[in-house]
């Protein structure tokens, strides 16, 4: 059974955790960086996502640290999470490849001119 496509924030969370375990704020920064500052997670969306991913077994709590009397909980990708991310990457690359092929066909077709509307 194919899993449904991951939503963008979920995808970036899993991707961010692929390299190393991260805590809440680290995760927010990593996701922002990965998405070229496009996806900015806030606590109200980050933690429900972490709850859900934990429940689905895609991520797990790696360790907890108390830094300057603040609780930091680090999350890591589980084996299931890794497989899910890999499958999603595979799906996306297939999509990209398919779209690229179509674009290439279009640019070949664009050699012959076609009348189009003039509005900007």
């Amino acid at each position: 059974m194919a899993s449904p496509p991951l939503q963008e924030p979920t995808f970036f969370i899993l991707a961010a955790l692929a390299a190393e375990p991260l805590h809440g704020y680290g995760l927010i920064q990593a996701v922002a960086e990965l998405s070229d500052r496009r996806v900015h997670l806030r606590a109200g969306t980050l933690y429900p996502a972490l709850d859900r991913l934990t429940q689905e077994g895609l991520i797990a709590v790696a360790r907890e640290e108390i830094v300057e009397s603040r609780l930091r909980r680090f999350y890591e990708l589980t084996d299931d999470g890794e497989a899910r991310l890999a499958a999603e990457v595979e799906r996306l690359s297939e999509n990209v490849a398919a779209a690229k092929r179509r674009l290439a066909e279009r640019s070949r077709a664009a050699v012959r001119p076609e009348p189009r509307g003039a509005e900007a």
Binding site: G24, G44, T45, P48
Partner: protein, 522 residues
């Protein structure tokens, strides 16, 4: 980043349910503080909005909740709000469907239940049970004046609530359920069966001259059916809420169209408190206060114990209801029933006391139960002294046990002890001097003092206990708005007095509790 900012973030986190905060609270605060700008003093508007929205989403059904629980979480507050509204609207129409004056304290009891439900499902569950007990008490007081059919409908309604109102499991984020063995399928099936049987009986014997009863009868049936059918995990909570509420609305509208009785329509389904009379009674306020305080303070004393207690009290109420019903049929007089119901309630309270791990919670719950059963026993306005003995003993026990547990909130403790003394004193006065003398002695400018004093006292306890749980604003505000709506409709002059007293008490107690009673984060 300043300490003030952290405090403000924590305040915003109150939007989240307390169970969620236990696991996630510190972590979220850390993340927020990590992301704060240097010397930032206030949460940014987007952050505040994000936290409040996130908290509401969590309350309306976190990832761990089932659709039925979601639906009930939405439907029950709606039902309670409508109860309060219909009770308030009944004040405008000074004569009820049966020409009886309306009872105010139940409005408070249900309003408190609503607040409690908003704050936390676990707490709200107990509040619902205790409100049901309170409503039951009204039914018992009135059983010699209203036909059995109505009584049956009342009981059916309560059983229907019980069948579905108690959330199946409140699963915390880390996957640990709070345990609800008694409320697993057999418990629900049993309560649903009671609801269906009584509801059917009520429908068969329905007197259409009192059309409100139709919806009262339909409601538990609908609730029971929905409760049993709700096995699918696919549907959204909102859909279930609509499913639960829609037939009740529909039936009520039909009644309105058929009989043209707006007040019957307005007081549909959950508006059971309306059947009561006995206006301006200090003892009713006292009972509402007892229930409020018992709910709030006992909740603080231990979740696990309270979960057991709420279940046992629910069963106690059902058993007592059955006893009342049977004895009413067989013996035909209330005093004899009072003995049966009282004995049953005491027995259950005794078992609860043995089961519960926390002395305070069972002492307080016992106090509430004693208040209820003493009113069962007191069919006449003149009270017998023996419930007083029980009450006094329990109050003393509670006062002796309490301080160590209430280290977090001195005001809650003082409010509780004061309220207890007030109630016990009230009972003592009634037992020795008679009910009417008692009321007369408490009247100032033709307004019973209880109208101002006890709600204010109740609010102080609510606010103090709530602020000890770090939810002062929410609790005070909701109680205040509820009271304001009800009282403004009831009587403008009294409204001014009560709202003034209540808001002053709320403000002072909240401020005091905020200063003294900030417990260490759990």
């Amino acid at each position: 980043m300043t300490a003030a900012l952290e405090r403000r973030y924590r305040r915003l986190l109150l939007a989240y349910p307390s169970t969620y905060r236990v696991y996630r609270g510190e972590e979220i605060v850390s993340t927020l503080c990590d992301g704060a700008r240097p010397r930032q003093r206030f949460p940014r508007p987007v952050e505040a909005l994000d936290l409040v929205a996130g908290g509401l989403r969590e309350r309306l059904g976190g990832p761990a909740s089932t659709p039925l629980a979601d639906g009930l979480r939405l439907a029950l507050p709606i039902a309670l709000v409508l109860t309060a509204i219909s009770a308030a609207s009944a004040h405008v129409d000074s004569q009820g469907p049966w020409g009886a004056p309306f009872l105010q304290p139940w409005v408070y009891a249900w309003a408190v239940a609503l607040v409690a439900w908003t704050i936390s499902p676990g707490l709200g569950r107990v509040a619902i049970v205790l409100s049901a007990l309170a409503t039951l008490r009204v039914a018992a007081m009135w059983s010699w004046r209203i036909p059995e059919t109505q009584l049956v409908c009342v009981f059916a309604m309560l059983a229907g609530y019980v069948a579905v109102a108690a959330p199946p499991h409140s699963t915390t984020v880390d996957g640990r359920g709070s345990g609800a063995a008694l409320w697993s399928l057999p418990g629900r099936l049993g309560a649903a069966a009671v609801a269906a049987t009584l509801g059917a009986f009520g429908a068969v014997n329905l007197d259409f001259g009192q059309p409100v009863l139709l919806s009262v009868t339909l409601a538990p049936l609908v609730l029971a059916v929905v409760g049993l059918l709700a096995r699918s995990r696919r549907r959204s909570g909102l859909l279930w809420a609509a499913l639960v509420m829609a037939p009740v609305f529909g039936a009520s509208v039909l009644i309105w169209l058929r009989f043209g009785n707006f007040w019957a329509w307005a007081s549909f389904g959950p508006a059971l408190p309306l059947i009561g009379g006995w206006n301006d009674s200090l003892l009713d306020f006292g009972l509402a206060l007892t229930l409020t305080a018992a709910v709030l303070i006992a909740h603080r004393s231990g979740r696990r114990g309270l979960a057991v207690a709420s279940r046992m009290l629910t069963f106690a109420s059902l058993v007592a209801m059955a006893c009342v019903l049977i004895a009413f049929e067989i013996i035909g007089g209330l005093p004899a029933i009072a003995v049966v119901a009282g004995a049953a309630a005491l027995a259950i309270a005794g078992v609860a006391a043995m089961v519960l791990p926390r002395p305070v919670s069972w002492a307080l719950l016992g106090l509430g139960a004693a208040a209820v059963l003493s009113d069962f026993a007191g069919a006449e306005r003149e009270r017998s002294p023996w419930p007083l003995v029980v009450l006094a003993a329990l109050a003393l026990l509670a006062a002796l046990q309490a301080p160590a547990r209430w280290a977090g909130s001195r005001l809650a403790m003082l409010g509780w002890i004061g309220a207890t003394l007030l109630i016990v004193g009230g009972y003592a006065f009634v037992a020795t001097r008679g009910y009417h003398n008692f009321l007369a002695s408490l009247t100032v400018w033709e307004t019973p003092i209880s109208l101002v004093a006890l709600p204010a006292c109740a609010l102080a306890v609510v606010a103090a206990a709530a602020s000890a749980r770090r939810e002062p604003v929410l609790a005070s505000f909701t109680v205040f708005v509820g009271l304001a709506c009800v009282m403004a409709l009831a009587a403008p002059m009294r409204a001014v007095a009560v709202i003034g007293g209540v808001s002053a008490a709320g403000a002072v107690s909240t401020a005091l509790a905020a200063r003294h009673g900030r417990p260490a984060p759990s």
